[in-house]
């Protein structure tokens, strides 16, 4: 298949052609490794409070300092990567699967049902994902699992829109029409012809939107309505440090830069992947 060929050709040379992409990918992989091996890498227990070492500036013993409970910020930042990536990944998975179902339905059904589904997608898109997630949190309550579900549900809209656009593109292609003429069962057409062409761009979308999911989830935590303390969540840590910014700026800054660096790295990786693999963009730059 041509798509696979293109993907392979891209993978062989992409690192040489895109130094920023390579650097960003190394950073992102570093975060993943830190998240996986957090218990081995982190110097302290992320929730161990030490009231003899509260709000200490960065030092040899605490490279990123300590917070107002005397918790080691470096350890919390490392464990925070775990939460950020887990929440980001599962939330995007929910959004992608939901978006795939709604998008397929909207793209394949015709007439009245299609019109209704399109208006439904419009309605979801009318609310920015953070506001939508806030609404879901209002119903679900707080906690890591709730954040995953709320953020995931709030991302269905954008996924559904791109899936539908891809379905429409495939639908007009001749081979699908021909297959339809030959009275092949609908399920087979979807499985053999439509899904493969939709899944691929969807996978690209997933890599791009993981950073959005992480941003929205840490925003919820920052607002104080996402993950609950003492979970080592970056958004939460930034919010906790906000009150002390005038004399203990590292409390917000350290988790903040951890988050910013991951988001920037992911967005460069996402841009690179999109430019390399998105057939609509290929040949443009």
């Amino acid at each position: 298949m041509t798509l696979v060929d293109n993907a392979r050709r891209g993978r062989r040379s992409i690192f040489a052609r895109r130094p920023f992409f390579t650097l960003a990918l190394v950073v992102a992989v570093g975060y993943v490794l830190a998240a996986i091996f957090a218990p081995f890498v982190a110097p302290y227990d992320p929730v161990a409070q030490d009231f003899n070492a509260m709000m200490q500036p960065p030092s040899g013993a605490h490279p990123m300092g300590t917070d107002s409970y005397g918790q080691d910020i470096l350890s919390r930042v490392i464990f925070g990567a775990r939460y950020a990536l887990i929440i980001g990944f599962f939330a995007v998975a929910i959004g992608a699967i939901g978006g795939l179902i709604v998008g397929l339905a909207a793209g394949l059904s015709g007439g009245w049902a299609e019109w209704a589904l399109l208006r439904l997608i419009d309605s979801i898109l009318a609310l920015p994902s953070l506001i939508l997630a806030v609404a879901f949190i209002a119903i679900l309550g707080q906690g890591v699992d709730k954040v995953v579900i709320a953020v995931g549900l709030s991302m269905i809209g954008p996924f559904a829109r791109t899936v539908r656009a891809d379905v429409l593109q495939v639908r007009v292609q001749l081979f699908v029409e021909a297959a339809g003429l030959m009275a092949i069962p609908r399920a087979v057409i979807i499985w053999r012809h439509i899904l493969p062409n939709v899944i691929y761009p969807l996978a690209v979308q997933v890599t791009i939107r993981i950073s959005e999911a992480i941003l929205v989830s840490s925003s919820l935590s920052f607002l104080g309505i996402g993950v609950t303390p003492p979970t080592p969540d970056w958004g939460l840590m930034i919010a906790e440090g906000r009150a002390f910014v005038s004399f203990a700026a590292w409390m917000s800054a350290m988790p903040g830069f951890a988050l910013a660096l991951l988001l920037i790295a992911l967005s460069i990786v996402g841009d690179g992947i999109r430019e390399e693999f998105d057939p609509k963009l290929r040949g443009k730059s």
């Binding site: 208006r119 439904l120 419009d122 309605s123 898109l125 009318a126 609310l127 920015p128 994902s129 953070l130 506001i131 806030v134 609404a135 879901f136 949190i137 209002a138 119903i139 309550g141 950073s211 941003l215 840490s218 925003s219 920052f222 607002l223 104080g224 309505i225 958004g235 930034i238 440090g241 906000r242 910014v245 005038s246 700026a249 917000s252 800054a253 903040g256 830069f257 988050l259 910013a260 988001l263 920037i264 992911l266 967005s267 460069i268 841009d271």
Partner: protein
């Protein structure tokens, strides 16, 4: 053209209906019995039934929705127990203007800074300036706004002491004081948009500047600045307005975070405290206001296309 406009307005009404229905229905699903919460732990079945009837909660779902929607349109949005005021006053008259002020300041910043940056970047394509603008655009779109806000507070507020770091002063009452209080929040919120507009302006303007009508304008003796600003920038208005309309959601969600960082009493703060206090009526109001704003602005964007591009006026 008129038919098209009516079609768009019709679609918009349907979307508004779905949003209102969903925000009503979803919050019906919320755990906890509102009557129980209001009455506390000790109550008689009679009191329960009486309050239920008073609030209309004994009615069928559709009747409840119709009542709710009708009241919503009338401006009767219920009462907030935390803010001790009715939600319409609290949300629409007090919180919404704060959010809109912040959003318009940020949008103004974004356009006034982003468009010139993008234009310069496009005109000086492939120079160091262009590369710098590209790095700024990338970092600016990925950097979390709430972190930026804290950094700005730390630097301009704490270290330099140049700007107030908290609180809201309405520019409608005290114009200069309002602006002064709005600069850091608006800068925080607009950084993403400045970066995005820079990127978009550069990309679209590079294409426009390659068009024959640009060469033709130069060939008839138009000076460089006029060619770029009058003939070039005029033709990127359509993509710019489209993206701004679509990104309004991002702007609104940014206000939620910025309001929390700078302690501004807007919709964001209202929503957050409502979620913590489990005040579903307030959450509904916040969701409805945000969605309506987004939908109406995008309707206006759609309707403005023929103004922005004369070629769209004669389409059937």
């Amino acid at each position: 053209m008129l038919r098209q406009a009516f079609g768009k307005i019709g679609q918009t009404l349907v979307v508004l209906f779905i949003v209102s229905f969903a925000s009503f229905g979803l919050l019906k699903l919320a755990p906890g019995d509102p009557i129980q919460i209001m009455l506390g732990s000790e109550y008689s079945p009679q009191a329960y039934a009486a309050l239920s009837a008073e609030l209309g909660l004994d009615q069928p779902f559709w009747t409840q929705y119709a009542d709710w929607a009708l009241n919503f349109v009338r401006g009767d949005w219920g009462t907030s127990y935390v803010a001790r005021t009715d939600i319409f006053t609290y949300g629409f008259l007090e919180a919404l203007p704060v959010t809109l002020t912040l959003a318009s300041f940020s949008l103004a910043f974004a356009i006034l800074i982003g468009v010139p940056l993008g234009v310069l970047s496009a005109v000086r394509k492939d120079t160091i300036f262009d590369a710098g603008a590209a790095v700024f655009a990338l970092t600016g779109t990925a950097f979390p706004s709430f972190l930026l806000g804290i950094l700005l507070i730390w630097f301009f507020g704490v270290k330099l002491g140049l700007f107030p770091v908290m609180g809201y002063v309405s520019p409608w009452q005290d114009f200069w004081g309002g602006i002064y209080h709005m600069i850091l929040p608006a800068l925080t919120l607009s950084t993403y948009f400045i970066a995005m507009i820079t990127r978009l302006t550069r990309a679209t303007l590079v294409e426009v500047l390659a068009q024959p009508y640009i060469a033709a304008a130069r060939a008839r003796g138009e000076p460089g600045w006029r060619v770029i600003w009058v003939h070039g920038v005029r033709n990127i208005a359509l993509p710019l307005v489209t993206i701004l309309g679509l990104q309004l959601g991002t702007l609104l969600q940014g206000t939620v975070l910025t309001e929390t960082v700078f302690n501004l009493p807007g919709i964001g703060q209202m929503l957050t405290s409502a979620v913590l206090g489990r005040e579903y009526g307030v959450v509904q109001a916040g969701v409805m206001m945000t969605a309506t704003l987004f939908i109406v602005v995008n309707l206006l964007v759609d309707l403005s296309y023929p103004i922005l591009d004369p070629r769209l006026r004669d389409r059937k």
